[in-house]
């Protein structure tokens, strides 16, 4: 009883002062004068727009990356009390007083600062000395490009932070695997690896490369676990089969834990980002049009206001607008108007000279169609409404002209292999009306499904010719008012969005007379039911649109190719003071860039050399040293390769800052290679001292360069033209020099 009181409560901590000091200096370098310049710098103009959208909770679509990064930046804005009212239109524009610049830039700066101690930890966990670890951290600390990038409202530093966190926590996990698997510490680092990976992917898609690298290393380690006989043979002799089975179960547990934490968990976290994203952005906005009707209906305002309370089931007599699901080149609605096809086209072909049917990208009263039962004459909905089902034959009556949608064996105006679609006019005796369409609900669950507003995707199959109503997407000439051509496709090839339509606006027709009906068509729709799309449906649509939305790959003044990056042959001018010549550039520390590339090369050569010699049973390195050397290479050189090489295959506009994640990994490799050379390749004490002296000299020069470039990094000091010219070490660097000083 109360025996525990006999011992004093003790807390023993060890503080690594190196780490503390590095963190402090890191914070100082990144946070110093953070709110300067108080103007929009480079890509802030782009991220800022999204932050404003978050602040106003307006829906937007951005194809550049998943939403987590933007949400983090928006969090800064939220904490700083930003109301979203700022027009992000021009680089260099002064921020108004309602923009909390400091808190907006805080998060990237913090991640940039914390990367410094993390570099230290990674090199230490890789099994190298404190000296090498400190070196790695210092190199990250004085790298000008990293400083610039993390002091602004940009996402690269956050991406680098999570990349490093993923690698670090995987290393910690690995090291605890040797001692105590399934301990809380083991679980913590394993789970953190998964979370950090999905955060990296959530910020930019390129984060997926680091994720794949970590997965790959984890797979190799898991393969060793499978082959680890000690795991199964523990007590196998004593307990026989039971022991053996227990061994297999243990291995299985190891594999399952890894799969859960490194595959399942990241997927869930990724979904969580989108869940929060969609939860936050609940109002309709400028990008609504790109999304499907169902998606738009789930947003407040916009289409939701229009379609609110529409009847769900389309019945005979319903008035509908039909939107094409594919929506390329622009989203549009099935449309007709009084004008007819020209008798003879420019190329001499003839047409049916009947009323044009087109696809029109704007809302218009001529987009309304009435679903008619071919067996009856009336155009109103019965009481109770008789719903239209899959497989029913219908006629579509154009609301304003009461002509029937028709197609026949006449070549379409611009796609001659397909049939013309028209609204039938009865003055050509030789051409009987062919206006029966069979309804084919594409996303039906059973064959008796009812045609639903917004939710059903339907095809209209022509009964006589089995042609399918299709948007060809070609703009008609002037006689067709440049609206898009609609055709009957005979040679149908599988599912394609251009043949599928959905009902967007819908109401039950009430008026018998044409005059009344026209009035009715002009009036807004009303009734009330609300419907919601499930989260997974919204997620998959949004993700798909984000991946397929096409941004115009325009050339940019500061765009560059991956080959320019390795030796820093290019820079980006971020900001120029409106009056003085103070300016901010994304410009790295040349010494560090060049030596990091050199280190990668040296590593590769040494690695191949050792590998060949080991194959001939000449072991230069003891086994544990060798494994450590391989792991360091796999993570650092591998990290560089996976974050750099894929850019050669990408077709989008590339900038220097895309190289920074790769560069970070490359810098981590630098002290590793240096320590290896000093420990293993310098034979005598003299050589070792000489080498140390060289390293010190090299590091001093790196510090010196960093200091020289400081004005371009922080933009705090106005330089004279001659000073600027002196800083232009490479001809390809573009440093701004005012002509009229």
């Amino acid at each position: 009883m109360l025996g525990f009181l006999q011992q004093p409560v003790m807390v023993t901590t060890e503080v690594n002062l190196n780490m503390v000091a590095l963190t402090a200096v890191g914070l100082l370098s990144r946070l110093w004068q953070l709110a300067y310049p108080r103007a929009v710098v480079f890509d802030e103009v782009y991220y800022g727009q999204h932050i404003s959208f978050y602040m106003k909770r307006t829906f937007f679509l951005d194809g550049s990356g998943p939403p987590f990064g933007h949400m983090l930046l928006a969090l800064g804005g939220y904490l700083g009390g930003f109301d979203g009212n700022f027009l992000w239109n021009r680089i260099g524009a002064e921020y108004s007083s309602n923009v909390p610049v400091w808190s907006l830039r805080l998060l990237p700066a913090l991640s940039g600062a914390l990367s410094v101690p993390m570099a230290y930890e990674i090199v230490w966990e890789l099994g190298f000395s404190h000296c090498a670890a400190t070196g790695a951290a210092l190199l990250l600390l004085i790298e000008n490009a990293l400083i610039t990038q993390s002091r602004l409202m940009l996402l690269e530093s956050v991406l680098i932070f999570f990349n490093l966190l993923a690698v670090l926590s995987y290393l910690k996990f690995c090291n605890s695997q040797k001692h105590r698997p399934f301990s809380p510490r083991w679980w913590f680092w394993l789970v953190l690896t998964g979370v950090a990976c999905s955060c990296a992917v959530g910020i930019k898609y390129v984060g997926v490369f680091t994720y794949l690298l970590v997965l790959g290393v984890a797979a190799v380690h898991a393969w060793h676990v499978i082959g680890d006989q000690t795991l199964s043979n523990v007590g196998a002799d004593a307990k026989g089969w039971a022991g053996l089975a227990w061994g297999q179960v243990r291995v299985l547990c190891h594999l399952l834990a890894r799969a859960a934490a490194l595959v399942v968990l990241p997927v869930l976290v990724y979904l969580l980002f989108f869940y929060i994203h969609l939860l936050l952005l609940c109002r309709s906005g400028p990008h609504d049009q790109i999304m499907s009707s169902a998606f738009q209906a789930s947003l407040e305002g916009g289409l939701a206001r229009v379609t609110q309370g529409q009847p769900l089931e389309v019945a005979f007599g319903s008035q509908v607008t039909l939107k094409n699901v594919f929506g390329q080149p622009v989203p549009c609605w099935l449309h007709s108007h009084q004008s007819t096809y020209p008798m003879i086209y420019e190329n001499g072909r003839g047409s049916s000279h009947q009323q044009q049917v087109t696809c029109y990208p704007f809302k218009d009263v001529n987009n309304w169609w009435i679903v008619k039962d071919p067996g009856r004459h009336q155009l109103v909905v019965n009481n109770p409404p008789r719903p239209v089902r899959h497989g029913d034959v219908v006629q579509l009556v154009h609301g304003m002209t009461t002509r029937l949608l028709n197609t026949h064996d006449v070549a379409a105006p611009l796609s001659p292999h397909a049939q013309e679609v028209s609204c039938y006019i009865d003055y050509n005796i030789s051409m009987p009306p062919q206006n029966l369409w069979r309804l084919d609900i594409v996303n039906r669950e059973s064959d008796t499904d009812v045609w639903k507003t917004i939710l059903s995707e339907v095809r209209f199959v022509h009964v006589n010719t089995s042609a399918i109503l299709k948007l060809s997407g070609v703009p008609l000439p002037d006689w067709g008012f440049r609206q898009l051509e609609v055709v009957g496709e005979k040679l149908f090839r599988g599912y394609h969005g251009s043949t599928v339509w959905n009902v967007e606006e819908h109401r039950y027709g009430r008026s018998q007379e044409q005059k009344e009906r026209e009035l009715e068509l002009h009036s807004p729709t009303q009734v009330d039911i609300s419907r919601n799309l499930s989260f997974m449906a919204r997620f998959s649509e949004l993700q798909w649109r984000m991946l397929t939305v096409r941004s115009d790959d325009s050339e940019h003044k500061y765009s560059s190719t991956p080959l320019d990056w390795v030796m820093l042959d290019t820079n980006i001018a971020y900001w120029l003071h409106p009056r003085t010549s103070a300016q901010i550039h994304l410009l790295g520390n040349v010494v560090i860039w060049a030596s990091a590339s050199l280190a990668t090369l040296v590593y590769a050569l040494l690695f191949i050399w050792y590998l060949l010699r080991r194959r001939r049973r000449v072991c230069d390195l003891p086994e544990d040293r060798w494994l450590r050397w391989v792991l360091a290479g796999a993570l650092c050189a591998g990290g560089w390769a996976v974050n750099y090489l894929p850019f050669f295959l990408m077709e989008k506009t590339l900038f220097l800052y895309h190289y920074l994640p790769a560069l970070t990994f490359q810098i981590l490799l630098l002290p590793v290679v240096l320590e290896h050379i000093s420990d293993h390749l310098c034979r005598s004490q003299l050589q070792r001292s000489l080498f140390t002296a060289l390293v010190v000299a090299w590091f001093t020069s790196a510090c010196h360069v960093s200091n020289m470039l400081r004005p371009l990094t922080y933009g705090d000091r106005s330089l004279s033209p001659s000073e600027l010219k002196a800083l232009r070490w490479k001809d390809s660097w573009d440093i701004l020099i005012r002509k009229y000083w």
């Binding site: 082959g227 390329q328 049973r617 003891p622 086994e623």
Partner: protein, 822 residues
């Protein structure tokens, strides 16, 4: 075959030896390597011996030999060296190496004296094997040559490749995105069979009439038929199982897709032939690895090289088989390198042999095909405009051939201006305006690859409109840095630019034709500059590299290389770029030059050297390949469509009255292939994990698992290499690109099902029906594919009558997927 049979015999004889455990001494070197487990080098060699000296086929009784557990590394002769070694020490031991040499000699002596004694049953069996091979070959030829002359009109891409064959016969120069070997062979086949090259091959559906086309089709069908014996032999070599090989042959013979593709004048049968031949010779040479530097070894190694050159010479897709062979060679060398009994000199020999046969030889052959190509095609033809001015000068009939034109540019000269970036073409304009919404509504300026009157421009002074060709005026040369005006000869409008965005590259300025009869405004003025000025101030025709800088905006005239939409006749965009980056797309040279006031000089010196021609034609081909981009809204085939046989390709005919041929795989075969890949991955990973866990596999299972992991692994790798790269390609893709991968996948199917059935039979060995399981399984698979071929054969051999979506059609019940339209 020579090598294979002898090796087989050796294995048989060896199996007759008592399989005494050789725990102490390591295995003979060569044995150890060929039985090497991928990714698991530390298996004790003794265990392999047990597995090796037992026939992999199912024995009558069930013999379960459990392995005696893993041996300590020391007993393995120190070859499994994973323990710590002293720094810079030799990890292996001399004793072990000596021992292994002894065993090798012992094994060799044990083998050789027994060779002549062949029992008659063996001889009978060997004859049976040959008969089976002959049967497979015959069936394959019969199926491919059946109704080869139908339809007697051009089908699908025959219009291209037949035409190119004719070009070779007529010796006219043309441009194509593929290397020349395949088309040369087609041309040769046509030439030998008496085709005279006069048929125009204008469009699919044109009737051949009296022209002899059977020679070319027959050649392709011959190579297409050879695929099946090649696949048969490959699988036989990999699995050592006749039933697996037979199954593979059946799958491929009865595949309607392979059949269709082999019956027409196309590059694919030629390409697939070389791919399969390379694969077979690689596999054969792998099995000769225990007798390095012997005659069969050299034969198969160099044959691999020859076939690689052939594959690459037909299409660039041949690169994938090169990568596969390269990978195989690397891992082979890696194993040799780890074999301490081989001296560095021997290793050097191995390396040199491979470099010679697999790099030097193919490269030489590949270059030789180009040499023949350029030698044969010496007349000007439709492909001239794609190539640089210097290149055109060597084609007879081209206006640059033996041309004599004025050397220096003068005011009043009529010129054509060619972009220096390859496959961009000439500066061009025509009487069409930019459409509304695209910059200013002025005359279009584009680049155009073909020679045309609209490519002609007159060079004029910027400030005077007097005719410089007036004989009374002195000749005035254009100099570096002059301000000039370029007037389009046909429309008399000036080359013009202004601050409107270009139609496609929005950051650049629009270039138009402006003015009436040569009088425009100051936006028509350009400064002409020579890059790296070497020839003084004047501007030389053909040789000066010039830049045109817009005077007012300071931008540079260039072509973005992007294709304009229909309104621009799909010619290429011309822009004025404000970024003064030094790229070839903004550099031009003057090609044609007409000026009556100047003396003509001969331009013999321009002849480019052969390496330059090679390089240029490759650049043009690569650009041409990249240029085959799918257009907006066009429905294109996606790689994921292919393995599921989602959609076919219409070779001939669309309506119900036409003779229709539809390229579609036999769905039974293809879906079986798809299933087999999944099954293979599953079963191979089960075996791999079992081995990694150190499970004790019975001997028979171990043998089968090795066939599965090694042989199947190579085939799976081949499938992946020939399939996945297409996902990365930006160009237009077609269904027929999948067929090389399909060959590999069918071979994998044959090997997998045979192995699985054997495993099945083994596990049921206590029941009387055990052996039947295997036979019945194989038979039912064979009959199933044959029956499905009977159902689907009209796709390949052609059909007339109502389309399949019509219920009256005999094929109506066979339209299993909505996307098939035959």
């Amino acid at each position: 075959m020579l090598c294979a049979t002898s090796r087989l015999l050796a294995a048989r004889e060896a199996s007759a030896l008592p399989a005494h455990p050789r725990g102490r001494a390591p295995a003979p070197r060569s044995r150890r390597r060929e039985l090497h487990f991928p990714g698991h080098p530390e298996l004790p060699p003794g265990d392999f011996l047990v597995g090796r000296f037992t026939k992999p086929s199912v024995p009558t009784g069930r013999r379960v030999i459990l392995r005696k557990g893993r041996m300590p590394p020391a007993a393995g002769g120190g070859l499994a060296g994973s323990e710590l070694r002293p720094r810079r020490g030799r990890c292996g031991s001399q004793a072990a190496r000596a021992a292994s040499r002894d065993v090798a000699t012992e094994a060799a002596t044990a083998r050789s004296p027994k060779r002549p004694a062949l029992p008659s049953s063996r001889r009978f069996e060997a004859a049976g094997r040959w008969a089976l091979l002959a049967l497979v070959t015959l069936t394959s030829f019969a199926s491919r040559f059946h109704r080869l002359d139908q339809p007697p009109h051009i089908c699908w891409d025959e219009t291209h490749f037949g035409k190119m064959g004719s070009y070779y016969i007529n010796r006219t120069f043309f441009f194509d995105v593929h290397p020349p070997l395949g088309k040369m062979l087609i041309g040769l086949a046509g030439y030998l069979s008496g085709y005279d090259g006069t048929f125009l091959f204008q469009k699919p559906g044109d009737n051949y009439e009296h022209h002899s086309y059977m020679g070319m089709r027959g050649f392709c069908a011959f190579l297409g038929s050879m695929l099946i014996p090649l696949a048969y032999l490959t699988v036989l070599e990999l699995s050592r199982s006749l039933s697996a090989a037979l199954l593979t042959a059946a799958l491929l013979t009865f595949d309607t897709g392979c059949l269709t593709l082999s019956q027409y004048i196309l590059l694919d049968p030629i390409l697939m032939f070389f791919i399969m031949a390379a694969m077979l010779s690689m596999v054969k040479y792998n099995s000769c690895a225990n007798r390095p530097f012997s005659a069969p070894w050299w034969f198969w190694l160099s044959l691999t090289g020859v076939n690689l050159a052939g594959a690459l010479g037909v299409k660039f897709v041949g690169l994938f088989i090169i990568l596969q062979v390269g990978w195989n060679t690397l891992s082979d060398l890696w194993h040799l390198f780890g074999d301490l009994s081989l001296s560095m000199v021997t290793l050097g020999k191995h390396l040199t042999a491979r470099i010679l046969c697999l790099i030097v030889l193919p490269l030489a052959l590949y270059i030789a095909t180009y040499a023949v190509h350029f030698m044969v095609l010496n007349k000007s033809g439709p492909g001239d405009g794609f190539f640089s001015s210097a290149f055109q000068a060597r084609l007879s009939g081209n206006n640059l051939h033996n041309a004599s034109i004025p050397e220096h540019l003068a005011y009043g000269s009529v010129i054509t201006v060619k972009n220096l970036r390859m496959a961009i073409g000439y500066l061009h304009s025509h009487r069409h305006f930019y459409p509304e919404g695209v910059g200013a509504r002025q005359q279009q300026v584009t680049t155009y690859l073909h020679k045309d009157y609209n490519n002609l421009w007159i060079i004029k002074k910027h400030n005077s409109n007097s005719d410089p060709l007036d004989p009374s005026l002195p000749v005035e040369f254009v100099r570096h840095g002059d301000i000039i005006r370029l007037e389009h000869k046909e429309t008399s409008r000036n080359l013009h630019s202004h601050y409107h965005e270009a139609p496609l590259t929005r950051k650049h300025y629009q270039v138009t034709g402006y003015g009436i009869n040569g009088s425009g405004d100051s936006n028509d003025f350009w400064r002409i500059e020579v890059i790296n000025r070497k020839f003084g101030n004047r501007i030389k025709v053909l040789r000066s590299r010039i830049r045109l800088i817009h005077l007012i905006t300071g931008c540079v005239l260039g072509s973005s290389g992007k294709v304009l939409p229909k309104w621009g006749w799909e010619q290429m965009e011309v822009t004025c770029t404000p970024y003064l980056k030094e790229t070839l797309s903004s550099i031009w040279n003057v090609e044609d030059h007409i000026n009556p006031k100047l003396p003509n000089i001969s331009l013999e010196v321009l002849q480019p050297s052969f390496p330059e021609i090679m390089l240029e034609s490759h650049m043009v081909m690569i650009r041409g390949n990249n240029g085959l981009k799918p257009k907006d809204n066009e429905f294109t085939s996606k790689p994921w469509h292919w393995p599921i046989n989602f959609q076919g390709l219409r070779f001939s005919g669309a309506n119900d009255t036409d003779f229709r041929v539809y390229l579609l795989g036999n769905p039974v075969v293809w879906w079986l292939n798809l299933l087999s890949i999944a099954l293979y991955v599953l079963s191979a990973s089960v075996f791999a994990v079992a081995v990694q866990r150190g499970a004790h596999l019975p001997v028979e299972v171990e043998g089968l698992s090795q066939v599965l992991l090694q042989g199947g692994g190579q085939l799976l790798f081949g499938w992946m290499m020939h399939y996945f790269p297409f996902f990365l390609m930006g160009r237009v893709l077609y269904f027929h690109h999948y067929f090389p991968a399909m060959l590999f996948s069918s071979m994998l199917t044959g090997l997998l099902w045979d192995t699985l059935l054997r495993l099945c039979a083994w596990s049921l060995a206590s029941y009387p029906l055990a052996r039947c399981v295997h036979v019945l399984g194989i038979l039912s698979l064979l009959l199933g594919t044959a029956y499905s071929f009977y159902l689907f054969h009209p796709l390949a051999y052609g059909m007339v009558g109502p389309l399949a979506q019509d219920p009256r059609s005999p094929m109506a019940g066979l339209r299993w997927l909505e996307s098939w339209d035959f």
